[in-house]
C-alpha cells in the first residue's frame, strides 16, 4: 500500500459526499475559467481588431469615460498624418446597433479610400463602391444569411452587401463596415469620428511607439493617445468587466473552500477513532496532517480537472451559440488552465488545514474511546 492509498480510500468511503464536494469545486473552477475567459476574450477581440488594421496608436477624446463614448473631429486625422513618424491616420466611427432579427452588432464607418479598407481580407465580393454599400464580417454574414448583392438593414437604412471579409478578430467578424458619411448621418455625428487610428512605418519598435505617443500627447492636450497594447488595459469598461469576472470567480472559490472545509471537518470528525489508531501505531502528527491535506487536495484536484473541462466546454458553447460570438474571441492559454487547476489544489489545501490541525489535537487515548 502506498501512502496516497489511505486518503483515496477515505474519499471512496463516502462516494456521494465526495462527488458533491468535487462538483462544488468543479463549478467554482468552471466559473473562473468561463468568466475570466470571457473577460480575456473580449479584451483579445478588441486588441486583435486593432492589430488586424495595423494600428499602432489609438487617438480618442480625452476625458471620455470610455473610448467608444468619445468623439473626435474627423479633421484631426489628416493633421495627425502629417506628423513625422506617422505613416497613416484614419478616422473611424463606431456604433452599436441592433439588426431586425434582434442581434447586436458593431458598425464601423471608414472614410472611402482610407487605409483601413485594405486591412479587410475579402473572401467574397468587393469593397464598397459608394455610400450605399457595406462589407460584412464573415460571422455576421453567416448569421444573417447575407451574401454579396443582398440588402441589409442597418439603423433603419438599407445597404447593399458589396463583400464579405474574414478577419482574425471576433469583433471584426461580427462587424458591418460602412462608408463614414452615411453612418455619421445615421448616428447624428456629422464631421465626427469615435477615434483615429494611427499607423506607423513598418518595423517601428515599441520604444518608438511610446516616444511618439508621448510627443503627440504633448502636442494635442485635448486628445488621449494610447499605444495599441495599452488600449485594452486602460479601457474602463473592460476593466470593470475584468474585475467583475475575477470578483465573481473569487466568490465562487471562497464558497467552494467552505464546502471543502465542511466536508473535511465532517470526514475528520467521523474518523476521530481511526486517527487515534494511526497515532497508536506510531504515525506522527505531521504524517496525519499530510494524510488529511492530501485527502483535501485529491478531492479538489479531481473537482478542479472536471471544472477545467466544464469551463473550456462551457466557454466554447457560450461563445459559439450566443450573441457573444460577435464580440468575444475565447482564448484559453495552457498557463491560465494550469492556474485554474492549481487554484483548485490550493483550495483543497486551504480547506483541509483546519480539519488537519483538529485531527491531531486530540490525545490518542481519548480518540480511541470515540465511536
Amino acid at each position: 500500500m502506498y501512502f496516497v492509498s489511505v486518503p483515496i480510500k477515505n474519499l471512496a468511503r463516502r462516494p456521494t459526499r465526495t462527488m458533491l464536494t468535487g462538483l462544488g469545486v468543479a463549478v467554482a473552477v468552471a466559473s473562473l475559467i468561463m468568466l475570466v475567459g470571457l473577460a480575456r476574450g473580449l479584451e483579445d477581440a478588441w486588441s486583435q481588431s486593432l492589430m488586424d488594421r495595423g494600428v499602432h496608436i489609438l487617438v480618442s477624446q480625452k476625458g471620455a469615460v470610455e473610448v467608444l463614448a468619445g468623439v473626435v473631429d474627423e479633421a484631426m486625422a489628416p493633421r495627425l498624418a502629417l506628423t513625422p513618424g506617422v505613416a497613416k491616420a484614419a478616422g473611424e466611427l463606431v456604433a452599436l446597433t441592433a439588426l431586425s432579427n434582434g442581434a447586436t452588432i458593431l458598425a464601423s464607418g471608414w472614410e472611402p479610400g482610407s487605409y483601413l479598407w485594405d486591412s479587410l481580407n475579402l473572401v467574397e465580393g468587393r469593397l464598397p463602391a459608394d455610400d450605399r454599400e457595406v462589407v460584412l464580417g464573415e460571422s455576421l454574414a453567416a448569421s444573417t444569411g447575407s451574401k454579396p448583392g443582398d440588402t441589409l438593414e442597418v439603423m433603419g437604412q438599407n445597404f447593399k452587401v458589396a463583400g464579405i471579409s474574414r478577419n482574425q478578430s471576433a469583433l471584426s467578424q461580427g462587424t458591418v463596415f460602412t462608408p463614414l458619411r452615411p453612418l455619421q448621418q445615421l448616428v447624428g455625428k456629422k464631421g465626427m469620428v469615435t477615434f483615429i487610428n494611427l499607423q506607423l512605418p513598418a518595423g517601428t519598435d515599441q520604444e518608438r511607439v511610446a516616444a511618439l505617443t508621448e510627443q503627440l500627447s504633448a502636442a494635442y492636450p485635448s486628445l488621449k493617445l494610447l499605444p495599441t497594447n495599452e488600449v485594452t488595459r486602460q479601457n474602463r469598461i473592460l476593466g470593470i468587466f475584468r474585475s467583475m469576472a475575477w470578483g465573481t470567480s473569487l466568490l465562487a472559490i471562497i464558497i467552494s473552500t467552505v464546502f471543502v472545509l465542511n466536508t473535511m471537518v465532517m470526514s475528520v470528525s467521523e474518523r476521530t477513532k481511526e486517527i487515534g489508531i494511526l497515532t497508536a501505531v506510531g504515525w506522527s502528527p505531521t504524517r496525519i496532517i499530510a494524510m488529511v491535506l492530501l485527502e483535501g487536495i485529491l478531492l479538489c484536484l479531481g473537482g478542479g480537472l472536471v471544472g477545467v473541462a466544464l469551463g473550456v466546454a462551457g466557454l466554447d458553447v457560450l461563445t459559439s451559440y450566443s450573441e457573444l460570438k460577435t464580440f468575444i474571441q475565447p482564448r484559453l492559454t495552457g498557463g491560465f488552465l494550469l492556474m485554474a487547476a492549481v487554484s483548485a489544489v490550493l483550495l483543497g489545501a486551504l480547506g483541509s488545514l483546519y480539519p488537519a490541525s483538529r485531527a491531531v489535537r486530540l490525545r490518542a487515548a481519548q480518540a480511541l474511546k470515540r465511536e
Partner: protein, 243 residues
C-alpha cells in the same frame, strides 16, 4: 524457559519506570490513576488486573504514551517521556499495541492494516507488503490478507491486530484486554499466540486483563483498585502468580 532479557540501559534492566504517576480527570474529581510507582523489567511478562474502573486501561495508556500523566514521571529506557510527539516516535520504533476492540482501520484490508506501523521507518512499499504478509502468515492469517476487517471474525481480527503490533519487531507489547471480545476458544488461541511470540521475539509484554486464568500467567502481576496499585506480586513463568 525464556532467555535472560537484554538490559534496557547500562546498569539497569528496567524498560519502563513509573514514579508517582497520576492521571486525573474533571479537575481532579476523577483520579483514574493515583500515585502509581512501577518498574517493568526488560523481557518480563506483566499482567495488570483489577475490577472495572480501577484504572488498568488508563495506566496502560500512560505506559504506551497514548496519554500523558497529570503528575509523576514515566521513563522509557531511562529517558523521561514528557511529550506525546516523543512517545509517538518510541511507539513507532519499539512498542506494539493490541486492543480489546482490535482497532483496525475499516477501509483498509488486513494486510494494509498490518503495513500501517511501517510508514515512517523508510521501508519501500514492496518490503512493507512482504513483511505484512510474513507476519500475517506467522499468525495464521495469510488467507485473509486481502479481506477488510468487516469480513473477519473476532478471533481473526485480533490475530491481524497482533500481526500489526509485531510488524516493527517491538521491544514492548502492550495488550489491553486482548481477549475481552473473544469466546473462550479464541481467547486461549490468542493468549497461546502471544506466549509463542513472547518467547520467539525476546520482548516484554504488559497485558491488562480481567480474566483470572490469564492473569495467573506471567512473572509480575500488578493489581489495581480505585486508581492505586493495591498489590504487586513477583513470580516466575515456571511458578505462575497466584493471589
Amino acid at each position: 524457559m525464556k532467555a535472560a532479557p537484554q538490559q534496557a540501559f547500562p546498569g539497569s534492566s528496567a524498560l519502563l519506570e513509573l514514579t508517582a504517576v497520576s492521571r486525573h480527570f474533571s479537575d481532579g474529581l476523577v483520579r483514574a490513576v493515583d500515585g502509581v510507582d512501577l518498574e517493568i523489567e526488560s523481557g518480563s511478562w506483566v499482567t495488570i488486573t483489577g475490577p472495572s474502573g480501577s484504572g488498568k486501561s488508563t495506566l496502560l495508556s500512560l505506559i504506551s504514551g497514548l496519554d500523558l500523566p497529570t503528575s509523576g514521571e514515566v521513563r522509557f529506557r531511562g529517558r523521561s517521556m514528557n511529550s506525546l510527539r516523543e512517545w509517538t516516535r518510541v511507539r513507532q520504533a519499539c512498542i506494539g499495541l493490541v486492543f480489546q476492540a482490535f482497532h483496525l482501520v475499516p477501509t483498509l484490508t488486513a494486510a494494509e492494516n498490518v503495513e500501517l506501523p511501517m510508514f515512517g521507518n523508510g521501508f519501500k512499499q514492496a518490503l512493507r507488503r512482504q513483511l505484512a504478509h510474513q507476519l500475517l502468515d506467522r499468525v495464521g492469517m495469510s488467507h485473509v490478507a486481502q479481506r477488510s476487517p468487516g469480513e473477519l471474525s473476532g478471533g481473526e481480527l485480533q490475530r491481524v491486530a497482533i500481526a500489526r503490533a509485531l510488524v516493527n519487531s517491538p521491544h514492548l507489547i502492550l495488550a489491553d484486554e486482548p481477549t475481552g471480545n473473544l469466546d473462550s476458544r479464541n481467547s486461549e488461541q490468542i493468549i497461546g499466540l502471544l506466549k509463542e511470540l513472547y518467547f520467539e521475539q525476546d520482548c516484554t509484554v504488559v497485558m491488562v486483563t480481567h480474566d483470572p486464568v490469564i492473569s495467573r500467567w506471567g512473572d509480575h502481576r500488578v493489581c489495581m483498585r480505585d486508581g492505586k496499585m493495591s498489590a504487586q506480586i513477583h513470580c516466575s513463568l515456571d511458578d505462575p502468580c497466584t493471589l
